[in-house]
Symmetry: C2
Subunit: 201 residues, 2 copies
């Protein structure tokens, strides 16, 4: 890993250091929980609780995006409930209005980074927390991405972009910089495709 | 994949078919959400909502368990919010009272399957949903597992055990039977160790 790139990443991470985290008395708005009673055909009965995000399952597209220059795009952002309070992950976002996951992926990549994906493929899908949520996340690989605009972030989104080589990206994963299940699983699912792509070049 | 094993698994899955899923008016008990106000050192301020399970982060141990006869132990159980309503996954459970993750893994494996792990190793860890939870899950590999008792399930736990060869286990993953991020990530993280183990034999 290039020393200057690691310094750049550590600097981005420290830019989001938490000063204060105060519990609020109000009820939650974005994340809610709905209890259900279940009866199976075999006669078993029990209750289960379902996590909703914005009143939906909250299925998300997670995108490993590679630029025309073969650099990987990471997003660095506050993740205030994890150790250190900052996450290094892949561009990701919730599916909107039943759009295709390829479209969700392209839309979120453009919004979060300003990069347009020329080619995109689904690597796989997985339930984020199958015991208490129906969120079915998709892992995607976007290639030949090109910068076409500035990021367009929501009011409460605070994101810094970090770019490095593919080799450095997997080094960051090995070294524990990428700690979220979504990003880790997507990077592992992308490995065989990236190997194939490299050999095909 | 042996045809009779696939029939056995499909039979276990269909044994948990849902008859009815009714939303309840009551508030949730196990899963709750707590809003926080965040202030970063850089001056940014925003709110975030934190998912809690049983009032804790709900960090879990996910165990790929291999018996003395080189069979993998899967658990089949109702997952009522996912497509089909039934999950095929790895034995897993929440950490209790700050116990070591190796201990959580062995305890849950014994409770859910009746198998005792002779050797256990941590494969890695990952945040389940880093945007709105501090749940840090551990992936573990348990080997030389031996059946020592019957399962001891909680009142609301309904689990069937399914055993197959290592090769068949990864076939199930390829074919979309294992759909949860926890199990999928644990099986992918176990791959290099299993390869090494096989070569060492």
């Amino acid at each position: 890993m290039r020393k200057e790139k690691l310094m750049e990443l550590n600097h981005l991470i420290s830019s989001f250091e938490i000063e204060d985290l105060t519990p609020l008395e109000e009820v939650s708005h974005f994340v809610t929980v709905k209890p259900y009673h279940v009866r199976l055909k075999n006669g078993m009965e029990f209750n289960r609780e379902r996590i909703l995000k914005n009143k939906k399952d909250g299925s998300a597209a997670i995108t490993m995006a590679i630029t025309k220059d073969d650099e990987v795009l990471f997003v660095v952002e506050p993740r205030v409930f994890i150790k250190g309070g900052v996450g290094v992950g892949l561009p990701a976002g919730y599916q909107e209005n039943q759009e295709a996951m390829e479209d969700a992926s392209k839309r979120e990549l453009l919004e979060e980074t300003g990069y347009l994906a020329k080619e995109i493929r689904v690597l796989g899908s997985f339930y984020q927390d199958e015991g208490c949520s129906g969120a079915l996340n998709y892992a995607l690989l976007a290639t030949n991405c090109e910068k076409v605009s500035s990021p367009h972030l929501d009011k409460d989104e605070h994101i810094e972009i970090f770019k490095c080589t593919l080799e450095e990206a997997y080094e960051l994963l090995e070294n524990g910089y990428i700690k979220g299940a979504n990003a880790e699983l997507t990077m592992l699912l992308a490995k065989p495709y990236l190997k194939e792509r490299k050999e095909g070049k």
